[in-house]
Symmetry: C2
Subunit: 328 residues, 2 copies
């Protein structure tokens, strides 16, 4: 589990200051009767807990060439949390959804200017995806109240989907009879190779494996040094599409690979899995790499495909390591 | 108080994985008898709590020209926490300090390469400064256990001093009869204008005031937009040298200034103080600025002085704001 404060954050605009006593969640749109919930009423519903790995759609952006201007993530924009809240479908079941509803729109309290337009951050989900049993309205993280920066007092949690899906500081849930056309749906978070393209919307996280860098870092370069000998390499791997099927590791930058051992999925189906392997480190400069494949057949590419938004770059991680002879 | 996860972090090397059951703190060097403490023994001593504002010595580095390569802080590297632990002097009182001891050396468990040298992060304090009643060995932050990234299970807290003083993941406290000459004392954290200079060591935080940016941000530029009219501006000001004496605010980039109101120091002598003022915003581009002065007479300069390490740049904050006419 990622400690609070080490879980990645992306705050589109500002973190709103919310008074939980006056905060309300409104359910409206294509429903029989709009509903309003306060926090106490939500907490009185059946609680449900999901451990989920969440990754920013921009994770890996900094490694694309040419450089894409936005949050310059290398590969740190990921975390795994224990989220607790109520099932979205239980909340929606308190009213009747119109037969012609197709999407559910989630609106947060964070306000800003983007694509030339003043907006509250808002994204939609297809109704079927929204009714999944593991889609939560979460009010706790890792056993404590949701921190302000993670959406206090309530956020959406859609396990397996990129981070932008999980709307924070929720204030409104609206049933729509036409697909949402807001800027976070049609302009941001689409894979496009050029301006003007319609592009493909981002949804589920692509597979990725990351190694815990072995040895010790140099302060400025962050390059690693290890002493020659046997080392335990370990890391985490995840995919939003299917369970992880295999992870392979290389110490020559991807020229040759060997399989790592996968731990059982002890944190459940939506969380990353630990992998580990022994590494016989011989003196010289080594380039460690790792790559994951999931049970749907998706595999990490050597390098991600450049796109206008710099999204979904799940190219393999490479870690330069200087292996030095043992002292004495 | 800054929520955990929004308090700034600077991790020199890696965050060590510490098993609290086997962790020990050793007191050695110029003492009558070396001592070793486990966590339970430390927690059994009289607890003490301090609310302290902590700022990285590199805060403001990114605004220096020419650019200094290191952690590129704008002005976000500050936070205020409620730290709980034991007084260092109570721990030192469990043995007898030699009469010729002059400094106390604090060594953490984080290991790395820096200045061409493998090291555990280590910094010293003059004995007199170390014996101050508010210098803590802290094991809690904001009412919870110290998070891993803040030094679990134990860190030094020296209120008023820049962040590097507050050694994390403490493993050893050594009484010295000669001043410490390690790389974090003689090479890093000194104000130098050129290589080879001895330089002045950094110690207490210079005064600084920061405004909460008003209005709403643009996603990419982070520039602000507010609607014309009266606005409450507020912020926080601190100094490690003396209580804050005054804060002034400008909306023309520092051409003219007016005084802000200072709240009482409700968080105690080591924490930032809130300030506030009304602002009559008229349409056009405005440049908000604020500057603090402390009771020792230290005042923020318009721009900080360039130095080799990019430290201690407490030049005044400037926030570009587009004031737009009210709609309709």
């Amino acid at each position: 589990m990622t400690p609070v404060g080490l879980h990645y954050l992306l705050v589109h605009y500002d973190i709103p200051a919310v008074d939980p006593a006056t905060w309300r969640l409104t359910i409206d749109g294509a429903v029989e009767a709009p509903r309003t919930f306060d926090l106490g009423t939500l907490r009185a519903l059946q609680a449900h807990e999901v451990v989920a790995t969440m990754e920013c759609a921009g994770n890996g952006r900094m490694r694309l060439r040419p450089h894409v201007v936005s949050q310059p993530w290398l590969q740190e924009a990921v975390g795994t949390g224990r989220w607790r809240g109520v099932r979205l479908r239980d909340v929606l079941a308190t009213t009747r959804i119109a037969g012609n509803a197709v999407e559910v729109l989630f609106t947060g309290l964070d306000r800003g200017l983007e694509h030339g337009e003043e907006q509250l951050f808002a994204r939609s989900l297809a109704l079927e995806a929204a009714l999944d049993a593991d889609v939560l309205l979460a009010y706790e993280l890792n056993g404590g109240p949701l921190p302000p920066q993670h959406g206090f007092p309530l956020r959406l949690l859609v396990p397996g989907w990129y981070g932008m899906t999980n709307v924070k500081w929720l204030t409104r849930i609206t049933l729509l009879t036409e697909p949402f056309t807001g800027p976070q749906q049609l302009q941001s978070y689409r894979l496009r190779s050029a301006e003007g393209e319609e592009g493909e919307p981002l949804s589920r996280m692509l597979p990725r494996a990351l190694l815990v860098p072995p040895g010790i870092p140099e302060f400025m370069t962050r390059e690693r040094t290890v002493v020659a000998g046997m080392h335990l390499l370990e890391g985490r791997a995840w995919s939003g599409h299917a369970p992880i099927a295999s992870v392979e590791v290389s110490d020559d930058g991807g020229g040759s690979w060997w399989p790592a051992a996968l731990d059982p999925p002890t944190l459940g189906p939506h969380a990353w899995r630990r992998f580990s392997t022994e590494w016989s480190a011989t003196p010289g400069r080594r380039i460690l790499a790792c790559r994951a494949r999931d049970e749907s057949g998706l595999a990490q590419p050597d390098e991600g495909t450049w796109n206008l938004g710099g999204y979904a770059n799940n190219g393999v991680q490479r870690i330069a390591v200087d292996v030095i002879p043992p002292a004495g």
